[in-house]
């Protein structure tokens, strides 16, 4: 199962490659084993994570055949869905910037994975869809929450209820994606973008920015402000000590 997702670190950037060609279906909701992902992302020098699909496509989403197999074999689907969520929560919880490099199809669970990222770079030839309702299902990996939060209720409902495919241009117009680049440059563009953002920073500072951003999305305003102040306070204390030990020349 692990060979369906690969990991690599290049210049401090972790690269997750979905590798189940040609469509890069996510084999199970836990598309990468949580334990494995924890090991990979445990590297303390990591400064960002890039998610890509190997070959022509990002990912066509969940493997429906496998899903119904699991149900007929009485496997615990609920537990698997929970672990799938835990995988995505773990990625967000790394407090590292997550960038999706998208080309070809980005459907269903693939789209939900991309939506968990902070930045989405897509090739001109990408296609997006949330087709679960066509199969009598709903987006089950956070899409019902993250899609409206990203593109607004109106666009999200249209995508989820109709299941229709949308083009890169349309996706850009509704702010589903942040950058459109030529197909051959998706990975290199996304990598350079991420690299440029984090290269001069200590992972500690990157984590502090990402955590503060995330807090503002999930905590009440008062709690988020208290947390933000606490994070600033701790960084400022560390910076003060650093300056004392390294006097300016």
């Amino acid at each position: 199962m692990n060979s369906r997702v690969k990991w690599d670190i290049k210049e401090g950037i972790g690269i997750i490659s979905i590798c189940n060609p040609p469509e890069n279906y996510l084999y199970e909701p836990e598309f990468v084993r949580l334990e494995t992902l924890r090991e990979w992302t445990g590297e303390p020098t990591l400064k960002g994570i890039l998610i890509r699909g190997e070959g022509k496509h990002f990912s066509a989403g969940g493997d429906l055949k496998r899903l119904f197999e699991m149900i007929s074999a009485h496997e615990d689907l609920m537990e698997k869905l929970r672990t799938g969520h835990a995988v995505i929560d773990h990625l967000i919880g790394t407090n590292l910037p997550l960038v999706a490099a998208i080309q070809g199809v980005c459907f269903g669970g693939g789209l939900e994975l991309a939506l968990a990222c902070h930045i989405r770079v897509a090739s001109q030839n990408s296609i997006f869809a949330s087709p679960e309702t066509i199969h009598g299902l709903i987006p089950g990996m956070g899409g019902t929450v993250r899609l409206p939060a990203t593109v607004g209720k109106s666009n999200a409902l249209k995508m989820i209820l109709s299941g229709e495919m949308i083009s890169t241009d349309e996706a850009y117009r509704m702010k589903l994606i942040d950058f459109i680049v030529p197909g051959t440059e998706v990975f290199s563009f996304a990598f350079s973008l991420l690299r440029r953002m984090v290269k001069n920073l200590d992972p500690r500072i990157i984590n502090a920015v990402m955590k503060t951003l995330q807090n503002s999305l999930i905590l009440s305003p008062d709690k988020a402000i208290a947390e933000e102040t606490k994070i600033f306070f701790e960084l400022a204390q560390a910076e003060h000590s650093r300056r004392l030990s390294e006097p300016e020349i």
Partner: protein, 229 residues
Amino acid sequence: MNDSLHTVEWIVEDHIGHLVMNQPPANSMTGEFFHDMGMLKKVIMAIPDLKAILIYGKGRHFSSGADLDELLLMISSGKKAWGSLMTNYTAISFFESLPCPVISLIKGVCLGSAFELALFSHFRFCSNEAVFGLPETTLNLIPGIGGIQRFANLAGKATALDFILTGRTFDAKTACSIGLVDKILPKQELLIKSTEFARWLPENYNPALKSIYLERYLKSETEDVRGET
């Protein structure tokens, strides 16, 4: 005019409050500034008939942001400093929830905490040569007064993270194109036009209708359209 304030001027003229950061040239946001703002907050919130508030800096610049050396020294004094940071935060964040329009007029530099102050305003107008930035990460810190969240809300996560993580500055045109500034005005017209706009805004001002007001106002400069909705 309030005589007990040393770092800011507060003048109410025809129901429009002018808050002028008054430590030129940099109008640095010192501990004393935050103290003054804490006092001024009480004064402002007690005025029942304010039509609008204009925030700007004396001289060439809006403000270069917090006085970092002083701030780090204060923080090194221990646990009590955490409370002082919270007090600093609320001393400028209250603008956001005021019922009257709050407009920041930005010329020259507008960096760090000063930019965060501007982000608590309802409208931001700037001159052509204005320079913006949240350089905190380059100093091993983060923007700590709501800047990360507000930048992301206005410009989107991708753009916000790019500018916040690199800490690089950007010009007026960029600020306007990514949605952080509402309008670029000639420097010498900044105060006149903003005052005019503040007067033009309707009595039943509603912050949620911000973009509609702006659109109508810009139209009214050529035609005679009123702000009332």
